[in-house]
Amino acid sequence: MIEYYVVAASTYAKDIDFLFDLIFWLVGLWFMATSGLFFWLIIRFRKREGVPAQYISGEKKDEKRWIHLPHYLVLVCDVFIIYFAVVVWYDVKQDLPPADQTVRVIGQQWAWTFEHPGPDGKLDTADDIVKVNELHIQKDTLYHYKLEARDVLHNFSVPVFRLKQDAIPGRVITGWFEATMAGEWDIQCAEICGIGHGLMGARIHIETADQHAAWMAAESPLSLAAYAPAQK
């Protein structure tokens, strides 16, 4: 349902969407049922000549059933939601599958800095590619992100991945994603962080292996140095 509006571009996007759908349909069903009953009662027991109104205190057993039965049924639905939510939460947030690549994501007022590992595939080496408001990743590759905040709370949100993770000053939070689709989409900050919060947008560029290699070759500081060794 949601992928109709925002494409699902990560391996776990469909799991998150499944939860949205599950909650939508369960809550929606109950909403329709209770609204239906409510209006039916209003119409069925509307004001009539010669019929006095009755005060119902709701203490008799067959009156209390109207509360108890739906209550238990709602609880059964809750169990479903909780079960599936825990399964998805475990997969997305608690389980950390081994990484093919690692990127560093730094939030600050009001920009995202992305540190890409460069051709050697390792962070904190001379060929790292540092970009402001531009994240370049390869499709079908499992990434770990190391999320940091320089000043206040931020939240690294990639809608097409269905990923949201708070960034907290003083902590390095590790998470993962794997893109399933090439394209360019939004990254946003999803935690109010000051007056520029609404303008704290970035772009994610999901590239095929060839595109990504070409981008790396063009952007790596080492390959730039090869072109202009005199600079420094």
Binding site: Q109, W110, A111, V132, I195, G196
Partner: protein, 208 residues
């Protein structure tokens, strides 16, 4: 006929003070700026926002364009610049940039209080000879040299700007020629003491 003559006359005149409707638009836009730069453009160290009141319109305009295009402020180590970059994106077109720059220029400039210590203005005066070539002996800036004023802004801002230039946090984008030139100039200041000295001298210019 008279109107046509007036129009021709107006066209022939150099660009005069900003139009009233432009200033009005600029004032409305300045509401966002004022959150950090202060309601009178007086600056706030806490927000890392320098005093901008009375900044020349050409300079304010150019810097807003630079921030917007990302040739200024879009460096991962430029904390203040990264705050200003998204703000500039909220100005939707050139007319807005002109309007807000005109409003900033219309605010009355004043010299903010000193916050730095340990600068030797006499030593700074000798160092300033190089700066003065572009920024003017009075520190008021020279448009023909693409050099902004140095007086009427915060001493802590001048220091952070010099440090950023020296470290290449500013002046390393190949598309920003003026900043690259300034980076070369800042490199000539040996250390922080030299920066404090030259800033102390600039403050005496403001009080002259």
């Amino acid at each position: 006929m008279a109107a046509a003559a007036l129009l021709a006359l107006a066209a022939a005149l150099p660009p005069g003070p900003a139009r009233a409707d432009e200033l009005e638009r600029g004032e409305a836009l300045f509401d966002l700026c004022s959150q950090c730069h202060g309601s009178q453009g007086q600056g706030s160290k806490l927000a890392l926002a320098p005093a901008i009141a009375g900044l020349k319109q050409w300079y304010a305009e150019r810097q807003l364009h630079n921030f917007k295009s990302g040739i200024r402020g879009k460096n991962p180590d430029d904390v203040a610049g990264l705050r200003m970059h998204p703000m500039s994106l909220s100005l939707k077109d050139d007319a807005d940039i002109t309007a807000v720059a005109a409003y900033v220029a219309s605010l009355s400039a004043s010299q903010p209080a000193s916050t730095l210590e340990g600068g030797d203005a006499a030593k700074g005066a000798a160092l300033y000879a190089v700066c003065g070539a572009c920024h003017g002996p009075d520190g008021n800036g020279i448009q023909q040299m693409n050099a902004p004023r140095l007086v009427h802004t915060n001493d802590w801002y001048l220091l952070s700007a010099l440090e950023k230039y020296k470290a290449g946090v500013r002046g390393s984008n190949p598309k920003n020629a003026n900043a690259i030139m300034m980076r070369g100039m800042a490199a000539q200041l040996a250390d922080q003491q030299a920066m404090l000295d030259v800033i102390a001298h600039i403050e005496t210019l403001a009080r002259r």
